[in-house]
Structures are given as C-alpha cells and as structure tokens.
Amino acid sequence: MTAVLATEHLVRRFGGLTATNNVTFSLPAGARHALIGPNGAGKTTFVNLLSGVLAPTSGRVFLGGRDVTTWPAHMRARAGLSRTFQINQLFAEFTPLETIGLALSEAHGEGAQFWRRVGTSRAVVDEAVSTLERLGLGDVMEERVGSLPYGKQRLLEIAIAVAPKPKVLLLDEPAAGVPEGEREQILDIVAALPAEMALVLIEHDMDLVFRFARTISVLVGGALFVEGTASEVARDPRVRQVYLGESEIDHHIEPATGKTA
C-alpha cells in the first residue's frame, strides 16, 4: 500500500538550529497516528513542513505519491491535505457559516468565481450546514466568529479542516486550551471522522494520545526517535527515559495495550 503522506530525509534549519533533522516518515491511508515529543522537539515545525507553511532546507515531501516539496500550502490543501493550527487561525469577521462555505467553495474549485453570489449552490450550503451541525456549531453558525467562546472557536478550527473531506488531516494539539469538560467533545469528533481519512495528531496530553492512536512517532531534537504501535512505544524504555518525570506515560501502558489487543 502506498503512503498517502511521506517524507524523505526532511531537514529544516533556522540559522544554526536544526528544528527538523533528517526525518523519513510515511503515513498509510486511514492511519490514526500520533506525533509526540517533549517541548521544543520540532513537532510544529514538522507539521509546517508537511503543510507547506515552511519550505524544507533539504529533503522531500510526498502527497499521494507525488513530490510536493516545492508546492505552496494552497496547492497541498487542494491535493487533499488539511490541517488545524495550534493557535486558532480563523476569520474573526466571518460567521462559521461563511467560513465553512468558503472552505467548501475553494475545495470545489469555485473560489475564483466572481460572477455568482456566494451561497447560491444548495448542495454546498447543505454540506456546510451539516458539517457545522455535526461539529456542534449549528446553533452559532450565523454569529461572528471573533465573538464566539473559545471552545466553539476551537471546534470551528477543526471544522474548517474537516469540511473539504481531506485525505490527510493534521491536528496540531486540537484540544489545546480547551477546558477539561469540553475535551471529550473534541475527542468524540475526532473519533467519528471517516475511517479512510489518515489522521495525524500532535498532542501533549498522553491520555488523548493513547485513546486515539494506533501508531505513534516520537520526535526528539527534531529527529525521529522511536516509531511503532502505541503499545510498543509505550513500553519502549528509551521513550520512558525521554519522558522521565512526565509520569503520565506509566499508567497508560496497561490500558493502552489492553485497548489495542
């Protein structure tokens, strides 16, 4: 099976600092993959390289088998790569409805149409509304995004990325800053995503990671440190070394193995 997303010897340097160090990585269709690592391991840089926000210093990125290394972000998005940002990147002056409508019209290749009023295609509007309702945003779809509560904004951040039905979805700490009570909702939404969509979760919260991921990569100092199934990674002594002091990982070993079995 060919990988939907892959990298070869990916390197990114900022001045003297190597943020991504020779990462070769591949993601099969339908993956439920988590990317973990201590602070400053270069997780977000890696996501930025994958999504085209940053250009690599060397190495290559493949999307659906095609070399997309030189492609700008919008072309990768059109080729089926979606992402959320660690810090919400929303259109504050839009409503959720406009936001998702826009994302869909771009995904359908209708974004350059200037002769037609937006919202005239019933199919697109229907798709936007059902996406919003599915993500618990149905009741606020006509409100200004900038004035929504943070939890709703976070859901919208996911909705934008999910709406175009991408082949690969990169979730950069989707639950960051979300209060404890609302985290479940985000996890449920992620769990309900179509099985054929390949998901990469970047997360600090080990609880979320082990409930979600079937496979895990550990990034340390910009390089891939350990890769494997969730239970392999959880048992790996080197990983435990890296996370020494972050004792959370310990009590996840048992439940995680139990789940994957």
Binding site: V53, F91, A92, L97, G111, F114, V118, E133
Partner: protein, 344 residues
C-alpha cells in the same frame, strides 16, 4: 418566541440559504441613494460640474477600496492608474479627433480599463512581494516612475502644458457633452453605478469572500486552498482597471489631461476618502467622495491656499478618534436602532 419556533421548523440549510441571500440583498437606503444621485442632475443643474467631479472621485475611491478594503493592499501610488487611464482615454480621443469610432467615449473607457488592467497585472507582481512597508514603497515608486515618464514624454503627453485637444465624440453617439456638465454628470454617474453594481456583485461572490478571508488571515486562507497571491493579483488588476476608468472619465468630461492627474496628492486624497467613508464598505467610497468635495468647497473657499492644512488635520483626527469611518458610524447607529427597536 413564535418567531423562534417558525425558524426551527425550517431546516438548517433553508435558514442558511436565506442568510446568504439576506447578506447580499439590496436595501432601501441603497436604492434611494442612487435615485437621489440621478435626481441631483435635474434638481441642481447648475452644480452638475461639481457632481461630476464627485462621481469620478467616488469611482476612483471605489477602485482603491477594492484594493485596500477588500484585498488589504496598502497603496501609496494608486493615482498612477488614475493618471494612466486619463492619458489612455485622452490620447485615444485625441487620435480620433472628436469623431467616432476612435473618440467614442465608451471605447475610451474600455481602452483605459484594458491598459490599466494590463499594467496593474504586471505591477501587481512587484507590489505583492514583501510587507506593508515594501508595498508602500513599491506603489509609491511605481507612481513616481509614471509621473517621470509622463513628464519626459512631452511629445506624447504634452508634458507640463497638459494634453490639449481631447475631444470625445457624443456619448453613445447621441448625447453631447454640454457646457453645463449635466450630460457629463449623468454619464459619469451611470458608469459609476454600473461599476459599483459589478463591484458589489464581486464582493458577494466566492472570489470577493476569499479576498476578505486573505485580508483577515492569509495563513488560514492558504491552508484551505486559497491561492493567496493569485487572488491578490486579480484584485489589484481589477482595482487598477477601475481607477483607469475614473481617470478616463475625467479626461473625457473635462476634455483635458494635465500632469496633475499623476500627482502624489491624488493618491493621498483618495486614501483619505476611503478611510473617511469607511474601508471595505464600497459605499464608503461614495459617501467619502461627496464629503471630501463638500469639505473642499467650504474650506478651500475660506482659505484656498491652506486647504492642505485642513486636509492634514482631518487625516490626523480620523486616525486618532474615528475608527471605521462614516459607514462604521452609520453601521453602529443602525445596530443600536435595531437593538432598541427589537426590545419590547
């Protein structure tokens, strides 16, 4: 309460369809504004020349609003396209010596729009590189280059003496440019309205929404597949074409083009108009242009030499105290009115 149950019975999609339609709906005051603008020609025929200037200025401001208010490109040299359009239409009319087909005003507008769109498209690649500050300098630099070229190519442009002998043929082959400027005003106003309606359509189209998205957050815009630079190229080109038509109107209705069309003041004035009227509102351009001309009439009549001072003062006060311009104030007032009215 009854209202709420009524909407609940509709599906979300129905509500959303209505929502989108409602956003782009023509509202009463808009229609009234345009009817009023046409009525002015008949109510105050003696001021038609002034109204004509307002209409041209409004179109010029509208063109900047597309670039600044929708695409978010800060330009210090938008006057370049106004001037280029004026020279393009002026030279074409002169070449036709007052007879159709070459001196046909409509053809002149088209010609100016095409020339400016072409130049705008090419320069958009220069402008879009880099930050706000780089854009300021590039737009200003391009405008200064244009001014230099017009100045040096005196054999073509008339240089400092201006372009003489611009004689457009009758409008649509029927209406003469009369001495009192009434036909000129009706002509400019019609062009303004047609282009305004078109701009309004664009603003509510997927293309227009994507421009606002880019202005709002270009990182996210790229991440949902919007080709940011290509859209901005398009918007800048459109703005250039609009400015060119405004310049062409000036050349045709005054039958003269002077180097002054490329002056820095034009670029600064039009920026003031857009900001005063309200950035990114379209109507701000029209309201701002009218207010600007009215202000000019009053202040320049009192102290013609020191108009510049008042202009500067307005700019400073505007930045310090008024956000969103006239349209912003009107919008806030309207929202308040609705809130008061909505409560039992």
């Amino acid at each position: 309460m009854t209202d709420a149950t009524a909407t609940d019975s509709r599906s979300g999609t129905d509500r959303a369809m209505i929502y989108f339609a409602e956003r782009a709906r023509w509202r009463g005051p808009e229609v009234a504004l345009w009817i009023g603008a046409f009525a002015l020609a008949f109510l105050f025929p003696s001021r038609a020349l002034l109204f004509n200037e307002v209409a041209i200025l409004a179109l010029f401001a509208l063109s900047l609003d597309l670039v600044l208010g929708y695409a978010g490109i800060v330009s210090l040299g938008h006057g370049a396209f106004f001037g280029l359009g004026a020279y393009a239409a002026g030279l074409l009319a002169k070449a036709g010596a007052g007879a159709a087909p070459l001196s046909d005003p409509t053809l002149g507008l088209l010609f100016a729009a095409l020339v400016c769109a072409a130049v705008g498209y090419v320069t958009s690649f220069l402008v879009l590189r880099g930050s706000d500050l780089t854009r300021l300098m590039v737009t200003l630099g391009v405008a200064l280059i244009f001014q230099e070229i017009a100045n040096r190519m005196a054999w073509l442009t008339g240089g400092a003496d201006g372009l003489q002998g611009v004689a457009p043929a009758n409008i649509l082959g029927m209406f003469e440019f009369d001495l009192y400027g009434r036909n000129a005003y009706l002509y400019s106003l019609t062009v303004l309205m047609v282009l305004f309606v078109f701009a309004r359509k664009i603003v509510h189209s997927p293309f227009g929404i994507s421009l606002r998205a880019i202005k709002g957050n270009s990182l996210r815009a790229g991440a949902i597949g919007i080709p940011v630079n290509r859209r901005l190229n398009g918007a800048y080109t459109l703005g250039a074409a609009y400015a060119g038509v405004a310049g062409a109107l000036l050349a045709q209705t005054t039958a003269f083009v002077s180097l002054d069309v490329l002056d820095f003041h034009r670029s600064a004035d039009v920026m003031l108009i857009v900001v005063f009227g309200g950035v990114g509102t379209l109507y701000g351009a029209v309201v701002g242009a009218a207010a600007f001309k009215a202000m000019y009439d009053v202040l320049a009549a009192a102290t013609p030499q020191y108009w510049e001072f008042w202009l500067g003062l307005v700019l400073v006060l505007l930045v310090l105290f008024v956000r969103g311009g006239v349209m912003g104030l009107l919008g806030a007032f309207y929202a308040r009115l609705q809130r008061v009215g909505g409560r039992p």
